[in-house]
Symmetry: C2
Subunit: 161 residues, 2 copies
């Protein structure tokens, strides 16, 4: 068998996202009308293979007892003219496409597609903002479900590890 | 910060997929009317966190020169009555949900949802079969695009590493 090559220069298309590469960790808080507030810790990883996308994975665990909570994985696809496309799979039985813009170190995306498996709960709409502020990656996510308008759900502040 | 826990017993719901856990590697071949045949090598990883799903990631690279080719990531969700749901993100700008059945070590799934980003190519339908035969995980994938009916696209034989 051949060996898989793992050393590549960053693809030109990914240059606007170079500041994200690596592993980030920090603490977040979740707030939503239908559930109790909760605190969590989070790790996010961005890697590349010399192709015009970054591989992305995220996991969160309870700040209280280390119990795994959420996770998601997918790919970030920077496009021409400061656009970005994100494709995600969620373990609760959903897939999501988000599209939006990269402005310096700020990324704003909104869901353009949400699909769920036969057994999963419905999600109507999501939006996310990522922003690098003084070496902290600040991440906010809003969510609308069938009964609730789009509103703040998660906010986290991550630092490079 | 708390430490993320990483040691969990396998969730009861995942028992039918226990034979998949770990890392698999092998060689595959791609055939499709619109492109030249190609050979590739593949690695597939299944992990768990004690939750009712397996995390899944796959990557392929050229058998000729080790150049990365495809990759995908997502989650496998076994359900009651031998059903399974798979949610995937694809770096070429698509998300996919597949649903089907687990019969012993054979898994048959078909796409129930395919979504693409603004810049991605359209895919009409996919189907996949996974089967453990004498310690080899044999994997076949069929694909239909707008111009082509559902037909064999990839076949690979993977061994546990």
């Amino acid at each position: 068998m051949t060996t898989r090559s793992t050393e590549y220069p960053l693809h030109e298309a990914c240059k606007p996202l170079e500041f994200l590469l690596g592993t980030w960790r920090g603490r977040g808080k979740g707030v939503y009308p239908t559930i109790d507030d909760f605190e969590y810790e989070e790790e996010v990883r961005f890697t590349h293979l010399g192709k015009p996308f970054l591989a992305y994975s995220q996991s969160t665990w309870s700040a209280a007892d280390g119990r795994p909570m959420h996770g998601e994985s997918g790919f970030w696809r920077p496009q021409a003219n400061g656009r970005i496309e994100i494709v995600l799979a969620h373990p609760f039985g959903a897939t999501e496409i988000l599209e939006g813009t990269i402005s310096g170190t700020r990324i704003d995306v909104k869901s353009t597609s949400l699909a769920t498996t036969a057994t999963a709960k419905d999600i109507a709409e999501t939006g996310r903002t990522f922003d690098l502020r003084n070496d902290a990656l600040v991440y906010e996510m809003g969510m609308a479900t069938s009964g609730q308008r789009l509103q703040g759900h998660l906010i986290a502040e991550l630092h490079r590890v």
